[in-house]
Every structure is written in structure tokens, then in C-alpha cells.
Symmetry: C2
Subunit: 491 residues, 2 copies
């Protein structure tokens, strides 16, 4: 086969493409500007779903046509975490600024695995900002990743390498003393998964009981560590949570830091939900102790409102990060000039050599809104949760099910068979399009959970959720009593 004279995927004449691109941008501005007027969610009709069960597209389709499909077949059937009445899970709302920055990143098409490029300086800028925000020293290193599931896995890996020595990368776990790690029973399931992935196994993660505030019980923790040591095991890692997904509880990080220090454990903080509370003056004091973490996971796409995905991992002692992830052969022979300079590279600090420019949308978000404003949004979501707790008193059929620690409110509709009924109410709420909370479990009870993360959410959205939850609960009870009163079917 011969080279093609013009194989480029760029158009010969850019006029139509540009015009179509501007139309696409306007459509997205329209979507975001008016998102609150849409249903939060709607069921996907079967026929619509089948639109994405086609054969491999051998021939070209005009961009306008592909875009039309996006507008009619994808956009209306989104999970819509950008919507002000989405409160189902801890997910940020995104911003138009973040969208535009992501467009720039995609046009630049940078691969941030390495090399001497300014994109990496933008990423390093965010690392320095986070170092300053969390009181980490100049020796700290950091890296953008997809999200905290990956960042928490990296925390486990760095701790494992520190416990077993760098040579364990070569030898594997072998017959090393059995390592054990500690976290609250309410810690995110990705911690357990990280233990599986790294080969230690989930049973090597001790899930410690929590107190009435859903924080890890530090006495029970100390006892378990002592018992494990007595049994010949090797405690190596303590994981604190800054904001549990269920109730927003923040472990007493200062006490955990003390225990980690005394017991010589690696202290990792899962701050996926709560770490960026450092930007909010009324939340930051509750994170005291986070500045003593050995490593930290957080997500800019939650409270930071950066579009998905933008997770972040930081290590106090940067050497531990390169010791865990850098390939010495590549790392030590890096060039000193040309595009191959600029060591260390991100590929020395994590898994990936192929990495999109997540730092850019984060930089634009922090710079264009300012961190004080982001902090104010964070405070606002917590204040809304307090408002919601108060408003619940106005709804006689609803009851609060857990203390409101941060920005998450768990409640339910009072009735017989409440577990089953409340699960149905949540699905009814989804199908109504009015609001999206989620089903969760608190102290063995099925609850309706509202996680208030989105900057667009207002007090009126809270009222809409509570009003609809009560009304749909009553409808469901009424329907049940109608069924109960119906005669059995005639013969």
C-alpha cells in the first residue's frame, strides 16, 4: 500500500466544521443554563436504548447528524448530576468554565505521561497549591488520577512498598510477615478493593467499629492493633476518612495521626468527599490532623465542581512515591535537554503513561472562580444540609435517620414495612423527574439519602425533594390500602 496524498482527518475547508462546532457549543451552553427546568432523570425507553446497538460504522456520518443523535438520544437520558435536584450520590455539578477548559485540553491533545511540556507545569502548579492547602512540606509529590478509588489504591501501594522495602517490587509479597491495615467499618468499599488488587486480600483490612458520630472508634482501633501485633501480624497502614459517603462523617484525624505515629503506621486519608473542605473556613477546622497524613486522596470533581474525572493523589515524602512507581531504568536515564527532559515525569509517580490534561480544567476552575468562592460553595452545601434537617420537622411523615455531619442528610418516610416502602419511594422520585436522592442503609434501616454537593442546589430544591418524598409516600400507602381492600379475584 502507498501513502495517501492526503490522509488527514482534518477537513480541507474548515467552514462547515467551525459552524457546526459553534452550534454544538451553543447547545451545551443552553443545556447548562436551563438544566434546572428539565426532569432530573427519566427512564430510557427501550427503543431509545437500542439506538446504540448498531453494526460497526464503516462509512462516515456527517458531524451534524452525530450531534443530533447526541442531543436527542443521549442528553435527555443523562444521570444529570449537574442538575440542582440531583442529590443521589456525592458528585459535583461541573461548570461551563470547566467545560471550556476541557475543550482546550482536548484540542491540545496533550499526553501528560511525561516529556518537557508546559502542561506538566500546570499539573505541578496544582500539586504546589494542594501542598500549601494541606500543609504538606516541599518534599511532597502529587499526581492527577481518575478518582479516589485509584488514589486510595495508590496510597495502599506506597504504604506496602514502605513496609516491605523497594525490593518487594521485584520479589513480590512472598512470605513476608502478614501485613494488616485499618479503617472504619464505614470506609469506602474501594479501600477493600485496593487490598484485593495489591495482593494482600480484603481480610487483611480490619474494619473497625464506629461511634455515634460514625467516626472510627479509636479505642477499638488501638485494641485491634495490639491484638494483631500479639498474633504476630504486621500492622502497616491506617486509613482515615474525611467524609463518609453515607453520612459525611469525618474521622478524628488528629487522633489517628497520633496513633499512626505511635504505631509507626502509614497514615493515608481518603478525602474523596471532604478534603476540599479545607477551602471553607467553617469546615477546615474539622479536618485538623489531615496535615499530618503520609498520603491523601481527593476528588476535584466532587466539591471542587470540576467536570469528571479529576482525582488527585499526594504523598508527603515524594521519594516514597517514586520508590513505588518509577521504573529505575527509565527514570535514571532521562535526558537533560530536548523534549525528553523534565524528569521526574508523571509516569514515575503512578501507573499511567497515557494521561489526559486533567490539571487544565482544575486550574481554570480554581483560577476563574477563586478558591474563596469554591470554599463558599462548600459551606453553602453544608448549610443546606442543616436547612434540610430543620425543614424535615415540617413534614410529619418524614424523619431524620442520622446526624447531619456535613452535607449529607439521611431520612425516611414513616410507615409499616418502611425499608421496602422507602426503597420504592426513591424509585418513584427518580421516575417523577422531581429529584434524585438515593437509597442507603443506616444502622440496618433503609433510608433516603440526599448528598448536597452541587453548587446549583438551593433551599427550594430541598423543599421540592421533601415535599415530593412525603407526597409519593402517602400515594404509595393509599395505593396499598386500596389493594388491601380489593376483594380477591372472582372465580
Amino acid at each position: 500500500m502507498q501513502p495517501i496524498p492526503n490522509a488527514s482527518l482534518d477537513p480541507d475547508d474548515w467552514t462547515d466544521l467551525r459552524q457546526q462546532g459553534h452550534q454544538m457549543l451553543d447547545d451545551m451552553f443552553d443545556y447548562i443554563e436551563h438544566i434546572g427546568q428539565r426532569p432530573v432523570w427519566q427512564p430510557i425507553p427501550d427503543a431509545m436504548r437500542q439506538a446504540f446497538d448498531e453494526p460497526l460504522p464503516h462509512s462516515a456520518t456527517p458531524l451534524a447528524q452525530a450531534h443530533a443523535r447526541f442531543m436527542t438520544q443521549v442528553l435527555p437520558y443523562a444521570a444529570a448530576n449537574s442538575h440542582p435536584r440531583f442529590m443521589g450520590w456525592v458528585q459535583g455539578g461541573g461548570t461551563p468554565v470547566g467545560m471550556l477548559a476541557e475543550m482546550l485540553a482536548a484540542g491540545l491533545n496533550a499526553n501528560l505521561g511525561g516529556r518537557d511540556q508546559m502542561a506538566l507545569e500546570v499539573e505541578r502548579q496544582i500539586v504546589h497549591w494542594m501542598r500549601d492547602l494541606f500543609g504538606f512540606p516541599d518534599t511532597a509529590s502529587g499526581l492527577f488520577v481518575t478518582g479516589s478509588s485509584t488514589a486510595n489504591l495508590m496510597g495502599v501501594l506506597v504504604a506496602r512498598t514502605r513496609a516491605l522495602g523497594v525490593n518487594s517490587r521485584v520479589t513480590g509479597l512472598g512470605n513476608a510477615s502478614p501485613l494488616v491495615a485499618y479503617a472504619a467499618s464505614t470506609a469506602h468499599s474501594c479501600i477493600s478493593k485496593a487490598m484485593e488488587i495489591c495482593g494482600l486480600g480484603s481480610q487483611a483490612l480490619r474494619l473497625i467499629a464506629v461511634n455515634a458520630q460514625d467516626q472510627i472508634d479509636t479505642q477499638a482501633l488501638a485494641q485491634r492493633i495490639a491484638a494483631d501485633r500479639a498474633a504476630g501480624l504486621l500492622p502497616f497502614l491506617l486509613i482515615g476518612t474525611a467524609g463518609t459517603v453515607n453520612t459525611g462523617a469525618i474521622d478524628d484525624l488528629a487522633v489517628l495521626a497520633d496513633i499512626a505515629h505511635q504505631e509507626q503506621l502509614w497514615f493515608h486519608v481518603d478525602g474523596a468527599l471532604g478534603a476540599l473542605g479545607m477551602l471553607a473556613p467553617d469546615i477546615a477546622p474539622r479536618l485538623a490532623g489531615i496535615e499530618r497524613a503520609d498520603s491523601l486522596a481527593l476528588d476535584f470533581h466532587k466539591w471542587g465542581q470540576v467536570p469528571y474525572d479529576a482525582g488527585f493523589f499526594m504523598v508527603r515524602d515524594g521519594t516514597s512515591q517514586t520508590d513505588t512507581f518509577a521504573s529505575p531504568a527509565a527514570y535514571l536515564t532521562r535526558h537533560t535537554r530536548g523534549i525528553g527532559a523534565g524528569s521526574p515525569w508523571p509516569c514515575d509517580l503512578g501507573f499511567d503513561l497515557s494521561r489526559s490534561f486533567r490539571a487544565l480544567k482544575t486550574w481554570f476552575t480554581l483560577v476563574c472562580y477563586g478558591t474563596d468562592k469554591i470554599g463558599a460553595v462548600i459551606s453553602h452545601t453544608c448549610a443546606l444540609a442543616q436547612t434540610m434537617q430543620q425543614r424535615l420537622q415540617d413534614y410529619p411523615d418524614l424523619e431524620l435517620m442520622a446526624p447531619v455531619a456535613l452535607n449529607i442528610v439521611c431520612f425516611r418516610f414513616r410507615c409499616n414495612d418502611a425499608d421496602a416502602v422507602n426503597a420504592e419511594i426513591v424509585a418513584d422520585l427518580h421516575e417523577s423527574g422531581i429529584a434524585v436522592p438515593s437509597v442507603s442503609s443506616v444502622n440496618g434501616h433503609t433510608v433516603i439519602r440526599a448528598a448536597i454537593v452541587n453548587h446549583r442546589t438551593q433551599a427550594s430544591d430541598i423543599d421540592a425533594l421533601l415535599g415530593a418524598a412525603q407526597a409519593l409516600g402517602r400515594q404509595r400507602l393509599a395505593a396499598q390500602s386500596v389493594i388491601a381492600e380489593q376483594p380477591t379475584s372472582s372465580p
Copy 2:
């Protein structure tokens, strides 16, 4: 603190934001349209680098100002893999269509960890397309990831779970029979890293010698497996490479599939570079055997020209993937209606719960260009490599250093101390802005490597690289001889 009446990060008046957004889009169209007229790369001045060493931005900066910084401080100092004369590493060029699709994804701000949303149907569409393209059965499952480093790690993990049983997720590696894996000595370093991460250790990866075509020596492989079994070890995984980074070599995948079948090994193919060659009629036959892989890693951001990042992982028997990654507690209690329906979710198939909508830019790329055209681009890059091999004969000071197997050409400037001089020539080329090849090593020799991946690259770009390499080599020799002739400094 009270809720703020309007905490939203959206503007009250969208006029300015819209206008600025359209300016940003036009700037990116301009950048891509005229990218060939820029230097491929230029050194970053120290003062420019320091622009990204600022304190945390507490107050807001106008978007226009942030964008101006991007245009003047970031864009000119890119690694520029979108440039037609970037041939340094195996990286795709991106497209304006991919950029626009990524903008849509960022505006939608979907999190593809789970839930019943149409974005997941788009991802499933790509899974079905890849299933068909690679001849995988209907039971195959797949997932977008950042890149093949992660996809290869997932392949190792699925193979590990299959070898040790699902309960090994709970128990860890423990005292299991020592598992060993096999790959060519030219396999990507991420395979070794995957062995480290999963706890087996890099020494459990047997790096097998290669033949003259840089393919794994299947006789040496068979001998090593037999020797390991005789030593009481447990061979569990064979990794074939479809396109090595150094020379583009493709292992004999059909023979590897036979060996894996006979030896009951998990057969994983690292197709980061070459798997999408299935779209090119003249390349596809060389991938024969890939349809028998148990799992497969590939990157759409390389030959697929999708903007970074868009890696992909696929498993023949989908049950093995959920057995490895799903949390049974969550997976088995998924809802059947409302937004919480639609199981299995991507979080059951991999690490991440936070996942951006990588499938959308991939869908737009495949649909809008058509897979025949993408295949033609792939053939074109291989034809250009053949052209380059021929043209090398016109440059008396340059010599080919490895057989051209696919789309990668390794050559060097002939001279004394060639290893050192060629490394300098590559840096000179970078600094010239004319072309970006990379330094690599073939059979112990330092070589200049050109990986032709970008759809924008033409024969004239090949000539520009070869001409500049020869000219800069001659300049460097001349400068050396001047230095040699200079008298030693006077006392």
C-alpha cells in the same frame, strides 16, 4: 453559616461567557488548522515556566485572562503530538471532531461509574463494536480506562483471579504456589509494573528472548514454561504484544494462542499500539490469533486518533471480569428501576467509580470518520514507514537500524561515538523545532526512532526529518572537529 441565596457558579448573564467560549473554540480551530506551521516543540524559557509557580488563587480571575495565559504560556510549549512532524512516541494526533465530542462530554459532566444513563449505552456500543472487530463472543465484556498501562494491569489481575480463585480476593496471595507469567523481552515496561502492583513481583515475569523480527521466541518460551513447571512453579499468564514500542513488532499471536491453550495459561494481548490495525485490511492478517485472546488492551488515542485519554480493556469471558472486580454486596443488590438500575455497572468491571465519558469522543470519532477511513489512516502510517525506509537510501550518512515491521523506523547517523552523537542529534532536532523523533536502543545501539502514528503526517514530513537529521549530524561533527583543532587554552 447560612445557605447563600445564589451560590451557583453559573453566571447571571451568560452573554459574556458565551462570547468568550466561542472565542476559545475559534482559537483551538485555528491552532489545529495551522499546527503544521508551528515549531513541533520549543524549549520552555525559565521565566515562562515560573508563570505556574503562583500562590493559591483566592480571588476570581476573568475567564478571558485565564484563556490568554493558556494561549501564550501553555499552547506554544506543548509536546505537540498533534503536529505532523511529531514522531517521538506512539501517540495519536487527535481530531477536531474528538475535541468537540470531549466538549459535549465535559458539558454533560457524566460520571460513568454506574447508574441507568444513556452514556453507558454509548460505552456498551463501543464494547459491542470491539467484540465484533476482534471476533470475541457475545459473553465478552469491556471497559474504557485511561490507557493500556491500566488495561494491562487489569489483564494481569483477571488472570491472577482465574488462577487462584475468587476467594483469593479475600485471602490475598498468601502461600499460593508461586505464579509466573511470560512475555517477550521487548514487552512494554508496564507489564512488569503490573506484576509489581498485584503483589507477584517483577521477577515472576519471565522476559523471553526475541527472534530477528523482535517477536517472542516461541521455542524459548516453551522451554522456559517447562523449566518453571519442573521447578514447581505455576505458569498462569502469557502476554503477547501486538506492536512493540521500539520496532512495532507483532508477536505470532496464533502460535501464542496455541501455547496458552496447551499450557492452560491466560492469554492476554497488549495491543496498545497495534490492535486497531484490525481496521486496516493490509494489517489485520498480521494480527491473526488475537481473536483467541482471553483479554485484550488497546488505546484509541494512538492509531484511533481519539484525544487523550481513551484506553480500553476487554475480556472474552465477561464473568471473569466481574469475578475480579465487582463487589458482590453492591453488585447483587442493585435496583431494578429508577436511576439505580442498569446493572452491571462499569464499577463492577474495573477499579474506578469516578469515570469520565471517554466513550463519547470515541463514538464520535468512529461514527463521523467511519472505521474504513480510520483503517486507511493506519495503512497510510505503515506505508509512510516503508517510504521512510526507502528514502533513507538517499541519505548517505544515515542508516536503518531495525527492520520496519509496522509504522516505526529506527535509524541513525553514521559516525564515531555514534551512541552519544545520535542522542545529541535528537535533542538538536527537538530544539530546531523541525521534527520530534526520540532516542531509543536497538540491539545495544542508540538509535533515532520515528513512530508514525499521526494522520497529519505526510511524505514531506519524513523528508524534513531525514534531511534535518543528516544536516544536524554533519554540523555536530564539524563542530567537534573545530573543537579538536583548537589549541589548548594559553596559560
